[in-house]
């Protein structure tokens, strides 16, 4: 495994940690105060920091460190995670995600935003309440902030010192700090140890910078029976005579500075050696060194700076810390089953598998299903009695195959949680942009659906959420005026219903302004000025191409790429979308999607001697037309009257050019389908063979795109059957030619 692969795994884990982080923060935001939730959030950031450190992703480490410090205050109950605090933290989680993305894919993050958040986080850690507005970010160093440069006087001008190093100028040429004596006070907190740092190692590293004397302050140490063995009681006063700068001294504590009280100052000039309570005595540290002993000797012989030795020391410390972190993690794991809460939160064991392998397996199982069906069919054909043991064995095989197929499909099934979590970020960001207060409530995040569906769900959902925030929810003032809570709520829920996944997006905004929608539709020539439309029909106008009611084109939505794109994306997934709205109370979008794109429930039909599969999801009902119900309309069009309404008849055989003339509807079967425009059409087929679950085989991948055909499948008898693209066939019947569909790219 090379470094890139390890790094790739790290980024994959980052994704998981980020998801963990966000869901934890959202739980806290909802009032969850379970310490395990706080711990999970802390661990997520800590793990990202740890991994990032190993790969030298300094920006990520620096930010994660500040974030972690503030989270630690929450963990130790020094900071109450109220909404204001969590707002900062959720934003920080977003920035952390951006930093991870930037580290992985290149690109940059908004530095001023990062700096601003660092400042806010630091303020929180210091116990300052978050500022209401967005202050212009001042120069706030993400790295440990040095108080002042070595002998420089204290800066009382009110400016925060900016870190400044003299690296590259050559330390040797700095006579001013040669032999300076620093007084260092170091009081580690419990967290320092908990995070795998070790005071003794830090002191060892410090001692390498020069001549050191140390005084251990044990005053805080309680009696044996009162002490917590994992708490921190010792503090140290250190006197260090060194040629190094204060920055170098602080660098020793780089990964621990937030977990300890650290003071570094230059010893008073007038302090004579006699008055100095501690006389520096060089240590013989050879025993503490595993490998760098020769470097130490060299150092002693030649005090001139040796960056290589420093690097070795740094690397050693890093290794030590990494090991310690690993140990701490092991310990946590070992301790986990002890408490029920921790056990409940423990993730089940997982393995990572390349998606291609899963897809290959799914494909093979698909073949197995087909093969088994073919075998069954030939046995049935050759066994007239239907009682042979082969026949019975085959039935068992069929059941097993079905189970294998279900299990394999379950491998691809993923909870919708990651997509939902992405939405919460979008809500936050868009709400911030438009100055609204919005809370996203999610339900059923653990509902599972095929990965392909999940991947394709994000875009339309993002679009809808943006719309809901931008147009759906009113401004806080308007809400208050209407007697509503100024904070709007968007509810995103997922559930399984009859073999499909149902996703609902509900807002408690103003609902659809039907008058405006209607006017807009008239203005855009979508409907006639005198059209008589029901409320539902008006609501559904928003799914018409090019429809946008936004008064002003904003950055967020309303660029004319509207809900029609959303609808087409959902339909491309084999799903349906509908809207219901109550003026003043909000709107609800309901999406019903197949659980997988690999298998499909279809109705197997015959058209002009060909076998076709029509997706069941598209079919509303089937009926046998009677002569009296068929009406001619114009030269070629025919309508069928169904319960006092007329529905255009579409001869599938004609549209697909299977036959030259239209078939007699009375001799066939009509499938009432709902198509893209929301309207219904009656598809004429010759006969229905039955319903079947079929394995979808992509035509694009195996052959080429065929207009009017969505995909293909292999039937039990080994024949290939084409799966009908209902929308394309309906569109063709309206006079549009059957052309290869453009891919639906929902933008905006």
């Amino acid at each position: 495994m090379d470094m890139n692969e390890i790094k790739e795994i790290f980024f994959q884990e980052c994704e998981e940690q980020l998801a963990e982080l966000e869901s934890g923060l959202l739980k806290l935001n909802d009032g969850d105060r379970d310490p395990e939730t706080v711990n999970a959030v802390f661990r997520a950031v800590h793990s990202i920091k740890g991994g990032a450190g190993a790969f030298g992703l300094d920006d990520l480490v620096a930010f994660a460190h500040v974030f972690e410090t503030t989270l630690d205050c929450v963990r130790s109950n020094k900071l109450e995670p109220n909404h204001d605090v969590l707002k900062v933290m959720l934003k920080s989680a977003d920035v952390l995600a951006d930093l991870v993305s930037a580290s992985r894919d290149g690109g940059s993050v908004d530095e001023s935003r990062t700096r601003g958040l660092v400042k806010e986080l630091e303020a929180l850690a210091k116990g300052e309440l978050p500022a209401g507005g967005h202050e212009a970010p001042k120069a706030a160093p993400a790295a440990p902030a040095p108080k002042a440069e070595a002998p420089a006087p204290t800066d009382d001008s009110g400016f925060q010192p900016i870190p400044f190093t003299f690296e590259g100028f050559g330390d040797d040429e700095e006579p001013a700090i040669e032999g300076a004596t620093y007084e260092i006070t170091f009081k580690p907190r419990r967290e320092l140890y908990a995070k795998g740092n070790e005071a003794a190692l830090l002191l060892r590293d410090l001692s390498r910078l020069g001549e050191m004397s140390i005084n251990c302050d044990m005053e805080a140490l309680p009696a044996l029976d009162k002490m917590d063995p994992e708490a921190s009681y010792f503090a140290w006063k250190i006197s260090l005579k060194t040629t190094k700068s204060e920055d170098d001294i602080r660098a020793v504590f780089e990964f621990a500075e937030w977990d300890c009280e650290l003071e570094v100052k230059v010893a008073e000039e007038n302090t004579s050696d006699e008055e100095l309570p501690m006389t520096p005595v060089p240590f013989d540290l050879s025993i503490l060194d595993d490998s760098a002993a020769p470097a130490e000797e060299e150092k002693a012989a030649a005090p001139a700076e040796d960056p290589a030795a420093n690097a070795v020391a740094a690397a050693e410390t890093a290794t030590g810390v990494a090991k310690a972190v690993a140990r701490a993690a092991e310990r946590k794991e070992a301790a986990a089953p002890a408490t029920p809460a921790a056990a409940a939160a423990a993730a089940p064991q997982t393995i990572r598998v390349d998606l291609d392998r899963v897809d290959r397996l799914i494909n093979l199982v698909g073949e197995l299903v087909i093969n088994q069906a073919m075998l069954s069919q030939s046995v049935i054909e050759n066994d007239n009695t239907g009682t042979s043991s082969i026949n019975m064995g085959l039935e068992e095989l069929q059941q097993l195959t079905r189970e294998i197929q279900d299990s394999v499909m379950a491998i691809r099934a993923q909870p919708v949680k990651p997509v939902f979590q992405r939405m919460s970020r979008i809500v936050r960001e868009v709400a911030d942009m438009v100055g609204k207060q919005i809370r996203l409530v999610t339900e059923g995040e653990n509902t599972e659906v095929d990965k392909t569906v999940i991947d394709k769900l994000a875009e339309p959902l993002t679009h809808m959420i943006r719309n809901a925030v931008d147009h759906g929810i009113e401004s806080p003032e308007k809400r208050e005026a209407a007697g509503k809570n100024p904070e709007g709520t968007i509810k995103l829920s997922a559930k399984h219903r009859s073999g499909r996944i149902l996703i609902e997006l509900q807002d408690d905004g103003a609902g659809i302004n039907r008058e405006r929608v209607r006017q807009k539709a008239i203005d855009n020539d979508l409907i006639a000025a005198d059209a008589n439309l029901s409320d539902d029909e008006i609501d559904n106008l928003i799914f018409m191409p090019g429809f946008s009611t936004a008064d002003k084109i904003s950055d967020i939505s309303g660029r004319g790429v509207g809900m029609d794109v959303v609808k087409r994306s959902i339909q491309a997934l084999g799903g349906r979308i509908s809207i219901s709205s109550r003026p003043g109370f909000g709107s609800t979008f309901t999406m019903s999607l197949p659980l997988t794109l690999a298998v499909l429930d279809g109705m197997v039909v015959t058209v002009a001697g060909q076998t076709l599969v029509v997706p069941l999801t598209a079919i509303v009902e089937t009926l046998q037309p009677e002569t009296s119900a068929i009406h001619s309309f114009g030269a070629t069009q025919r309508l069928i009257s169904i319960r006092n309404s007329f529905c255009p008849l579409v001869d599938v055989g004609r549209v697909l050019n299977y036959r030259a003339t239209q078939a007699n509807p009375v001799e066939g079967v009509a499938l009432l389908v709902e198509s893209e425009g929301g309207g219904q059409r009656a598809l004429m087929v010759d006969a229905i063979q039955g319903q079947r679950q079929v394995v979808i085989k992509s035509l694009e991948a195996n052959y080429t795109n065929v207009p009017g055909i969505a995909a293909a499948t292999i039937l039990g008898d080994g024949r290939v059957a084409l799966i009908l693209d209902v929308d394309a066939v309906v569109a063709a019947s309206r006079g549009q030619s059957l052309k290869p569909e453009m891919s639906f790219a929902a933008t905006g």
């Binding site: 580690p188 140890y193 908990a194 795998g196 070790e198 005071a199 003794a200 002191l203 060892r204 001692s207 004397s213 140390i214 005084n215 251990c216 302050d217 044990m218 140490l221 309680p222 009696a223 044996l224 029976d225 002490m227 063995p229 994992e230 708490a231 921190s232 009681y233 010792f234 140290w236 309570p277 501690m278 005595v281 240590f283 013989d284 540290l285 025993i287 503490l288 310690a324 140990r327 701490a328 310990r331």
Partner: protein
């Protein structure tokens, strides 16, 4: 535990006295209270500050009980680290170094 109230016990310190060991060591010491104790630090390879805290607290508890608390056969690493963090291994008290 093994130590009786009247006799004396020997506590063999682990090689690695880190964060994980602090609670273990604390538990062992607590269970051995009331009798003289000899700490065998000959196998110690690494000492963390938290175990040092436990040892110092232990020494104080034994002093209070007027029992003897003796560190014997300290390894070089034990001596050096205790010295580094400013603890006199003989008396387990702060020692300015």
């Amino acid at each position: 535990m093994a130590a009786s109230k009247t006799g004396s016990g020997t506590l063999q310190l682990s090689a690695v006295l880190d964060l994980n060991e602090a609670s273990v060591l604390h538990g062992k010491l607590t269970s051995m209270r009331g009798s003289d104790i000899v700490i065998d630090a000959s196998a110690v390879e690494r000492v963390g500050a938290q175990c040092a805290q436990v040892l110092v607290a232990g020494k104080r508890a034994w002093d209070e009980d007027q029992k003897s608390f003796l560190v014997e056969k300290a390894s070089d690493a034990f001596e050096k680290t205790m010295q580094l963090i400013g603890i006199d291994t003989n008396n387990l008290v702060a020692k300015e170094l």
